[in-house]
Amino acid sequence: MKNVLIINNISKNYGRIKAVRNLSLDIPEGSVFGILGPNGSGKTTTLGIILDVINATSGTYEWFSNYKKKENRQKIGSTLETPAFYPYMTGVQNLKIVADTKNIGYDNIDNVLREVGLAERKDYKYRTYSLGMKQRLAVASALLCDPQVMVLDEPTNGLDPQGIAEIRDVIKKASGKGKTVILASHLLDEVQKVCTHFAVLNFGQIIYYGEVNDVSGEKQVVEVGSEDTGRLEKIINKYSGVLKYEKEDEKIVVTLDTDKSVSDLSKFLFDNNIMPTHLVVQKKSLEQQFLDILNGSK
């Protein structure tokens, strides 16, 4: 697959603080790429660099395999940190300015306002908007040029659950049309629901990179209990598909190898004449894994 963006060894220092350290990343075309990380991990700095508004201390990046910075930015819909608009102008007037900066006509303005649910308030001044509406206008401005790539920095910040779901639909729709979306977020649930790929950042470094499916389809963890825990433990110890197990109260928590499923385990137990009285699959959420990844990096 082609990459829309190749980041090559980027670093950014603010005085003695290293906000981004030797970060390299490829963003595949058509992916929804989540950049995860705790506050201050360098997400916004990284996005600022690839959008040409923060100067990297060292390193290079390349959009669409060319170095035409201005033309490339016109083809990218982007938001960074908080929505940035002129408070004394209406939603429509603000989007006209966006259209002019992107060198496109005004035809699409009504469409994108409708898409983010702002059509009724489009002629109100921006300063009268709630945080959620400001965030929607930011997403609308990112959609305006029908961009090949969208870069969204925490797009659901300040939105209510319904708004979050709507923005998620907008992202899914864009992705369905083959567009690439780069999404910075600390909401793991959000990333899990919409992203195809993700990277975890901490202290300005990438500490994990992969596809979302890899993670959710990783090793399974099963709680097993039986009347004779001692015997159960001995049997499980013999099972080749077990990576590790530990005793918790009267139960045994088993981590299975990736190629083994829960039914493999229960079949093995039956074959060894053990009737489990308790068999629960612990669903490992992305959140748990995220925390594991962060802890593992320390």
Partner: protein, 266 residues
């Protein structure tokens, strides 16, 4: 280019501060221009010391072609009002985050600078046209001559005035870009205009070095004309060396603003 101009016009059009400030500016200009005659009549009655030398009520301030020099010089004192708007305009772009967003959306830093240079150009053009119209009206009202040669003789003061206002507004733009905060930038502009540079001017002995200071250079373009009415000699023309220094400042300030935008993280 058309697009960049349209962006700045969109920003101006719905901005209440712009209309309020420029409204106040032109109202004050109008008041001062048209009250000159009444002021001199008033002086004639009050100030005996002056009336000993010359009768103020008979000073021909609106006489063609002197009216161009007189009006442009007086109007020059009010350019700080336009500078306030220039500072508000640029510092708001920083605090709203719209400077950054404009660049992210696809303006180059140079495009953005050009849009603000257009603002500077527009304000000084409007002011110059206003002074030109006021000069015609007042000249035809009060001047004793209608001779075409007399009317157009000193008219080069109008483009020189426009250059003077542009240079000062560019200086304000530079301070706005440098300081980023509205209040601080305005404070520094006035501190520099009213205190810092005057003190430096006092300290410097050599006349031509004084003329190299930015605001001194800008103001030197149009010298005070009024001493001629007490029969002193004044520079009643636009000097080439004054013009060149101002043009050099315009280039330096433009490049300095561009470099700041280029090097700074937005």
């Amino acid at each position: 280019m058309k697009r960049i101009i349209r962006i700045e016009l969109l920003k101006i059009r719905s901005n209440g501060t712009f209309w309020t400030l420029t409204g106040i500016y032109f109202l004050i200009l109008l008041t001062i221009f048209f009250s000159g005659k009444f002021f001199l009549d008033f002086l004639a009655k009050q100030e005996e010391s002056i009336s000993n030398i010359v009768d103020p009520s008979r000073i021909p301030i609106y006489e063609f072609p002197d009216v161009w020099h007189n009006l442009t010089c007086v109007a020059g004192f009010l350019k700080f009002i336009l500078a306030i708007y220039v500072i508000i305009s640029i510092t708001n772009e920083v605090s709203y985050g719209t400077l950054r967003q404009n660049i992210m959306n696809g303006l180059s830093r140079w495009d953005f600078l050009v849009s603000k240079l257009f603002l500077v150009f527009l304000l000084s053009l409007a002011s110059a046209i206003f002074v030109l119209l006021a000069g015609f009206v007042l000249g035809f009202l009060y001047s004793g001559t209608r001779d075409l040669h007399d009317i157009i003789t000193y008219m080069e003061f109008i483009p020189a005035y426009m250059l003077q206002v542009s240079a000062y507004l560019l200086f304000a733009l530079f301070i706005g870009v440098l300081i980023k905060r509205t209040g601080l930038a305005m404070g520094l502009l006035f501190l520099y205009t009213l205190i810092i540079e005057p003190i430096i001017v006092l300290r410097i002995k050599t006349e031509w070095i004084k003329g190299l200071l930015p605001l001194k250079a800008i103001n030197n373009l149009i010298r005070l004309p009024f001493k001629k009415y007490i029969l002193r000699e004044v520079q009643d023309y636009i000097a080439w060396d004054d013009l060149i220094i101002v043009c050099i400042y315009i280039i330096i300030l433009t490049l300095a603003i561009y470099l700041i935008l280029r090097k700074r993280d937005l």
